[in-house]
């Protein structure tokens, strides 16, 4: 039986409260992990670790959060993602909503792509196949 979205959100919220020390009310679907919830680099490792445990899933490196796309000169030019970079990201990360970002694919704006909803989408794809 597929896991309903509400249940996924509840468990993701619980995970983020433990990982980031934020209040439950702050963890809304639209909250960004870096900007709104104060996550730093080590927290992304911790979040992946906790999600694997909470949902009994395996999350390969670079699957939920991108790991080294910014190191590829074909994908980044003048501080912006190239069309090739954007296409690669979109293909490998169907859980991320790129609709606003693609108008101005500034790499500094990439953290805004990762919201609570992004994690919920990812986990849903994963557990519900």
């Amino acid at each position: 039986m597929p896991m309903p979205q509400e249940e996924v959100l509840d468990k993701v919220r619980e995970t983020l409260v433990d990982a980031l020390g934020v209040d439950e009310e702050e963890v809304t679907p639209e909250a960004t992990l870096t900007g709104d919830l104060g996550a730093e680099s080590i927290d992304f490792l911790d979040i992946v670790f906790r999600l694997e445990k909470a949902f009994s899933i395996k999350i390969p490196p670079g699957d939920l959060f991108p790991d080294n796309i910014l190191n590829n000169p074909q994908f980044v030019e003048n501080g912006k993602l190239t069309q090739a970079g954007l296409a690669t990201l979109k293909q490998s990360m169907p859980h991320v909503d790129f609709s606003e970002f693609q108008a101005d694919p500034d790499v500094n704006r990439m953290p805004e792509l990762f919201k609570v909803q992004t994690i919920v989408n990812y986990v849903q794809n994963k557990v519900n196949g």
């Binding site: 990982a19 980031l20 020390g21 934020v22 919830l37 104060g38 080590i42 490792l45 911790d46 670790f49 694997e52």
Partner: protein, 426 residues
């Protein structure tokens, strides 16, 4: 003329209380911080009691916002101690606070390991007589906690303080065992004297009350095993002493350049006038039996302060309640002070509070400042049976009113590390 360094704020979290006043009052009453270990089940350990910080939670606003969500136990103590000291000093709100010229020098011990996960990995990857690193690799990355790995580094307490208070000045941490936070206060003072900073958060933090820490001290036979008399187990300078009682905690002092404190009208609590550091040049776990290393540190501090032995009104001893430390320290004091040693009161607060390891020296420095403020010497608790090798005036069991202008504080650590500070009333 050299720059002067004053203390303008203090804070602590100790086995006797969660702030300066409650700790000081408990010390003067001769309360005991000792109780059975609750952090883990130590019922089969030779010493099943210790001096834990009790019922501690990170106070608001430090707990809000998740900045310190994964901070180690000793870091949490330090944040609370630093908040108390910082607010008492008033520096942050004074209009004279320069973040780039305000630094940190702590004597903070290492954090605790990710002990349970580490142990379970060893069990699962153990191949009879050696570690199977292939199996380890299959398991470790999914099991070890990334935060615990980072937070156990020695400089992490400094990092949390910097982030909390917005301090961008010099950032140091000394890891010189039980002498660490006395050394930190001394070195922080030197930074201000040199002009490298105009204010420093200094002090120390440590918590070794975990299976690994207690095992280490047990193997060294350093701990008192008087489980049936835990309240009186720590008895510095007493003939029947059988080891120290492991404590934990954090203490922070705000050090400022005198002119800054004067300009902003800060309340000056005491002046740091002398600091000496020395090595025993002897053995790792034995002190120089003549106390020559300890004496060298005390002499260096006196020379730095430019005061003679006649001007020292009180000595806050390292006084751990181990057979060796207390007699060697006594010998060191006699080597420096000669006949004067018999006239200077010497006391150790470890009878009440236990041994806070890296945090011990800074906690004792706070009590020295309070001794100057209140003109009272805190007692050596649980002193009953005189030891012919320890024949000084140890201020037994009762606080004593005294005229105090200048006091000395000693800290010694494994490896033969000796540090001494001298402060003066201002």
């Amino acid at each position: 003329m050299r720059r002067r360094v004053v203390i303008t704020g203090m804070g602590c979290v100790t086995p006797l209380g969660h702030d300066v006043n409650s700790t000081w009052e408990a010390l003067l009453r001769g309360d005991s911080g000792m109780a059975p270990v609750t952090i883990f089940n130590a019922s089969t350990f030779p010493a099943s009691f210790c001096a834990e910080v009790k019922n501690f939670q990170l106070p608001q606003p430090l707990a809000a916002g998740g900045k310190h969500q994964h901070a180690g136990r000793h870091t949490r103590f330090t944040l609370a101690a630093a908040m108390e000291a910082w607010q008492a000093s008033g520096l942050g709100e004074s209009g004279h606070f320069d973040p780039d010229r305000t630094g940190m020098y702590l004597g903070s011990g290492e954090g605790s390991l990710d002990f349970d996960n580490f142990t379970s990995l060893l069990v699962d990857a153990w191949a009879g007589n050696r570690l199977n690193t292939v199996r380890w690799g299959e398991l470790a990355f999914g099991r070890m906690n990334v935060h615990r790995e980072t937070e156990q580094e020695g400089n992490m307490v400094v990092a949390h303080l910097a982030a909390e208070f917005g301090l961008r000045g010099p950032a140091f941490n000394s890891l010189t065992a039980c002498a660490a936070s006395t050394q930190a206060v001394g070195e922080a003072s030197l930074l201000i004297r040199r002009g490298d900073a105009e204010a420093m958060l200094s002090g120390g933090a440590h918590s070794m009350i975990h299976p690994y820490g207690v095992t280490g001290f047990t193997r060294l036979t350093a701990l008192s095993t008087r489980n049936d008399q835990m309240q009186t187990a720590s008895r510095p300078f007493d003939m029947t002493r059988d080891g120290f009682v492991l404590g934990e905690g954090a203490s922070i002092l705000i050090l400022e350049e005198y002119e800054l404190a004067r300009r902003r009208g800060a309340k000056m609590l005491a002046e740091v006038i002398g600091y000496g550091s020395s090595a025993d040049a002897f053995r790792i776990t034995d002190q120089d039996p003549q106390g020559e290393g300890a004496a060298a540190g005390m002499r260096a501090a006196l020379a730095d302060a430019g005061v003679g032995i006649d001007q020292i009104d009180y000595i806050s001893a390292h006084g751990t309640s181990t057979a060796q430390n207390d007699s060697v320290e006594t010998m060191g004091i006699k080597a420096v002070f000669g006949q004067r040693a018999y006239q200077v009161p010497v006391s150790s607060m470890k009878g009440s509070i236990g041994h806070l390891i890296a945090a011990a020296g800074a906690t004792e420095m706070i009590t020295c400042v309070l001794a100057l403020r209140d003109q009272v010497i805190p007692p050596t608790a649980n002193y009953r049976v005189p030891d012919p090798e320890c024949d000084l005036d140890y201020v037994p069991n009762q606080p004593r009113k005294a005229k105090l202008e200048t006091v000395m504080s000693n800290s010694f650590g494994f490896g033969g590390q000796n540090d001494t500070l001298i402060i003066r009333r201002i």
